[in-house]
Structure formats: structure tokens, C-alpha cells
Amino acid sequence: MIFRAVEDADLIRKAARGDVEAYNLLISRWEKRVFNYLLRIVGNREDALDLSQDVFLKAYQNLRKLEDPERFVPWLFRIAHNEAYSLFRKRKPESEGETVPPDASHMGVSVGGSSVFPLELSLAVARALDRLSPDQREAVVLKIYQGFKFEEIAEILSCPISTVKSRLYTALDLLKGDLAPVKSRGA
């Protein structure tokens, strides 16, 4: 993991000097995570892909401003967060005041396909996530699915750690009520 971090820092330095191939290698390492984060936030594969491309383009254009290459990942997700909320703001009039209108049926749930999990559980997760507010859902996505530390999430969302915890723990209380009984019934 440390070796990987060192390699990323090296690629970032090369990319900052205009090495496009080094940047493409960097993209290949992070595009899946960025795409899935955006997919769970915007709830639409097409938007998530478009936004992912915008995120990596914007990151390339601003790579020289990144002072510490070790902070690349939170910095990249901060760009992704901003791009997603920029899209929501553009679409706000169409959705009649709703800031984030994700579709629960596309909340990054691989229904069917090669999933080893029961279909019932996947649908229950989609429904449970749909009950959360956009802020709570994003906190869950960043912590549970992306595995960021509280400090990194606070940096990505540009808010205090206490706010991150409050959103996440309120979301967990709601999710627990919906999902823990499902698991116990399925067990």
C-alpha cells in the first residue's frame, strides 16, 4: 500500500510536468472508484461517466496546484463532489427545488448480474439508501463504500468532522432499522 502511494506520487509529479501517459495510468487506478462514488451520488450511469471525465480533466488542469501529492485522493474526490453538486445546481429548476435527485433504482446497486448477494437484499439496500438525505447518503458512500477516514471526508465535503459524524451516524441509525432485520431474516 505504501509502495502504491509512492508510485502515485511519482505519477502525479510526472503528470504535472505534462506527461499525459503517466496521467492516463493514474486515471486507470482511480476511475472505478470515482465513477462509483459519482454513480451513488447522482444515481445515473451516464451522468456519472460524464462527470468522471470532467473530474479527471479538471484534475489534470489543476494538478500543478496540488502542493502535497500524498493528498491526491481526497483532492480528487473533492473535485468529484464539486462537479456532482454543480450538476445538481444546474438541474435544480427542472427538479423543482430538490437539490439532489438521485434515482433509487440506480443507486449503484448491481441488481442481478453476477452478484452473489440475494436480489431481495440488493433491493432492500437501494430502498434504504433512498430514504436518506443527500448529505447522509454521501457520508455513507464516502465511509462505507470508499473507506475514507473522517478527516478525509471532512476535507472532501469541506465541513467539520463533527458534521461528518453526525450525518453518518444518523444515516446508520436509519439503515440499521431497515437492513439489520433483513439480514437476520435471511440468515
Binding site: 505534462g18 462509483n36 479527471f56 432492500a124 439503515l175
Partner: protein, 197 residues
């Protein structure tokens, strides 16, 4: 440790300090409710992770196009001006270079040929003689000035003394005249009194 949902969640997400984590571990051994709470959190997380990551529908990649890329010189120029630290360092370096350049290019003072030793001795002797003459002239001039001033002071003192003496004599003379007149009047008065008798 008492039952604290906040601590349990931080414990579950591995966000506690090692010492706090050990405290929660010890507490969990004796608290059934907290063990069940952690178990529910694990079940919730496992359910959420049932929705696994998808592969992006297509790969993202950029192509290097020299037409749109800035030249190496322009990249260097942009990087140079884009970094405050480097700009500061460059400014300091330019200032240092200017100081060194000014020091190296400043005209040196003219080197005068040194006179021969005999000439030097003659110059020293002449200088010494002139110096003595000048000192003597200055001393005599000073003495004359001092003498003239002393004379002036003495003359002024003598004049002041004479005037004071004249004033005293005049006053004494006036007093004598007054006494003489009084005496005359008294003599006349006594003679008149004697004649009346």
C-alpha cells in the same frame, strides 16, 4: 467505561485511539447490549456492501496532442510564475546577483605613485616648519588679543572708579554746603535773638 453509542461507532469504524479502543474491547466483554449494537453495525455494513462497485461503461483516457500542449519553454515559464516560493527565491537570487555585479564593477580608487624617501623627509620638515610658524603666529595673535582685552577691561574699571569717586566727592561737597548753610542760618538766628533781648 459506560455504554456510549458514539464510542461504539468510532470503534466500529476503527477511528479510536489505541487506548480508547482497548477500553471498548474490555467493555464489550462484559456488556451484552453493546456487543449486539456492534453486531448490528456489522450486519448493516455487510448489507450495504451487497451493492458492489460497478465497472465504468468505458475507460477514461486523454491523448497527448502537441498542437494543444504548451511548449516546454511556456510550461517552464508558467510553472515559474505559478510558484510563489520559486518566485521569491528567484527574486532573492536576482537581488544577490545585482549586489555582486555592483560590487565587481565599481571603479577602484586611483593608486598614486609614492614619493621618494628624501623628498618625503623634506616635505615632512617643511610641513613641520610651517606648522610651527602657524602655531607661533596663532599664539602671538591670541596673546595680543588677550592683552588688548585686558587693557580694555582695566580702562573700563578705571573709568568706572573715577566716575564713582567724582560722584562721592560731589555728594560730600553738597553735604558740606548744606551743613554750612544750616550753620549760617543758626548763627544769624542766634544773633537776631540776642539783639531782641
Amino acid at each position: 467505561m459506560s455504554c456510549s453509542p458514539q464510542d461504539l461507532r468510532d470503534y466500529f469504524f476503527n477511528e479510536l485511539l489505541e487506548s480508547d479502543r482497548r477500553s471498548v474491547d474490555i467493555h464489550l466483554r462484559s456488556c451484552q447490549n453493546c456487543r449486539e449494537e456492534v453486531e448490528r453495525l456489522r450486519a448493516t455494513e455487510a448489507a450495504l456492501l451487497a451493492a458492489r462497485d460497478e465497472e465504468p461503461p468505458q475507460r477514461i483516457a486523454f491523448i497527448s496532442d502537441k498542437v494543444f500542449e504548451p511548449s516546454a519553454l511556456r510550461r517552464w515559464w508558467r510553472d515559474f510564475w505559478g510558484s510563489a516560493a520559486r518566485l521569491g527565491f528567484a527574486s532573492a537570487a536576482m537581488l544577490s546577483a545585482a549586489i555582486v555585479f555592483a560590487a565587481l564593477t565599481r571603479p577602484a580608487p586611483l593608486a598614486l605613485p609614492s614619493p621618494p624617501r628624501a623628498e618625503l623627509a623634506r616635505i615632512e620638515a617643511e610641513f613641520s616648519a610651517r606648522l610651527q610658524q602657524a602655531v607661533k603666529a596663532a599664539v602671538s595673535e591670541s596673546e595680543a588679543r588677550q592683552a588688548a582685552r585686558t587693557d580694555q577691561v582695566l580702562a573700563a574699571a578705571e573709568r568706572r572708579y573715577r566716575l564713582e569717586r567724582e560722584a562721592i566727592l560731589l555728594a560730600a561737597s553738597e553735604d558740606h554746603e548744606l551743613m554750612r548753610k544750616r550753620y549760617g542760618r543758626m548763627v544769624l538766628a542766634s544773633m537776631e535773638r540776642r539783639d531782641e533781648k
